[in-house]
Amino acid sequence: MLDWVLVLAPYRKDAAYMTSLLLEHGIRAQAATAEDLGDRLAELPGVVVVTHEALNPAAIKVIAQFLADQPNWSEIPIVILLDRAAPARQIQSALTAAWPRSRQTFHQRPVAALELVSGIQSALLTRFRQREVRDYLERETELRLELNHRVKNILASVISIFQMTRRGATSIDGLSEDFAGRLSALSNVHAVAFDEGADEIALDQVVGATFAPYRSQERSAIQISGPAVLVSRAAGTTLALCLHELATNAIKYGALSTPEGHVAVTWDLSPAPDPVLTMHWAETGGPPVVEPTRVGYGTRYMRSALTGLFGSRPTFAFAPEGLRFMAQAPLSRLTQTPRSS
């Protein structure tokens, strides 16, 4: 055990005897004097051993002050060795009152070496559990900060989606439909990322979750194919939101607005090393494509987001037979998973 014991035993060689006894049993121990007691306690020992002779008002006060200043997880074990003739019960109740938030165990001298060592070992174990609680509390604080940070980021994303959707909206119904659709896309990809329980998610899961709302019809108008690829959660989210824009556009104006129309979503990886991911979206069988006169949310978002994520601008081709879209990036750009501090 890495923890250590502070021994306050002023009578003759008691302290030296006890520290060497404990050392023989693999327990680190250090002696304190009345003068340096406060400083030694500040080094946060695992257990304190106090002998009868040390129990003077000044030392009791120093220990009481240390106990009052303890962090909330701490109830330090104190092993107290009393003289056989001493009024044990009286001392016990006085110390219980003077030293709250400590785990006191009493022994009557002479104490057999085995009894003392095992008593201190058991006190160290108590202390070990307390330190585990401390680690747990620290971890919980960290998690709460991390959660707060993530919630803020999600809210910031939602506000951005809302503000940008509002800009392009021409009616309340249009606004609510577009906003709800974009939030669902965000929510669906979040669910996938959470289910996978990892920092990376499979691209086909991202694509599948994004198109799930549109695939309930008998015919499968959307064909999805590509090799197994893992991307970071952030990249997966951006891709899902882009695919959502393409899908809603296809439903409103493109191939998915007619029963005969089809969409193929495909991706491919170039050979290693440094594989490059290429994603294609190709619509066929829809009404003749007319290049829009106004650049809407979808196109602007995809340009902005994919240029950032992929490092190059995506291309849109308003081919007469159907909209085509292509984006390409080194896979390494899509797999970076930052670890926030």
Partner: protein
Amino acid sequence: MTANRPLRIFYLEDNPLIVFHVEAMIEDLGHIFAGSLASFSDLKASIDGIEMDAALVDIDLADGATGPAAAAWLYERGIVSLFISGQEHIAAEHAAVSLGTISKPIALDEFAAKMELLQIAIRSKS
């Protein structure tokens, strides 16, 4: 805004949705969006190709919590920056290298006010 020269504002941020929104806010206020990158390492690699008067910087980027280091790096190059972050307590620790913090989620009023602050700071520098 009126008599002021528009600023070229660069944005270091790894959330594309927020970049998208901030880009529009920058342009609404009459400034010029000078581009965006997702990590400090990308910024270092492409600084020569970016023309900016000021930068907006997130704390957590695609290469970790490198925003404060990026702000300090820009500061050394004479470029003023503002943090945009929900981790205001971390941003506050790096006040020496930045003009301030815009809280996340971003409120338009605060954003506009801080952009004016940027403009005043840059005008008084030149």
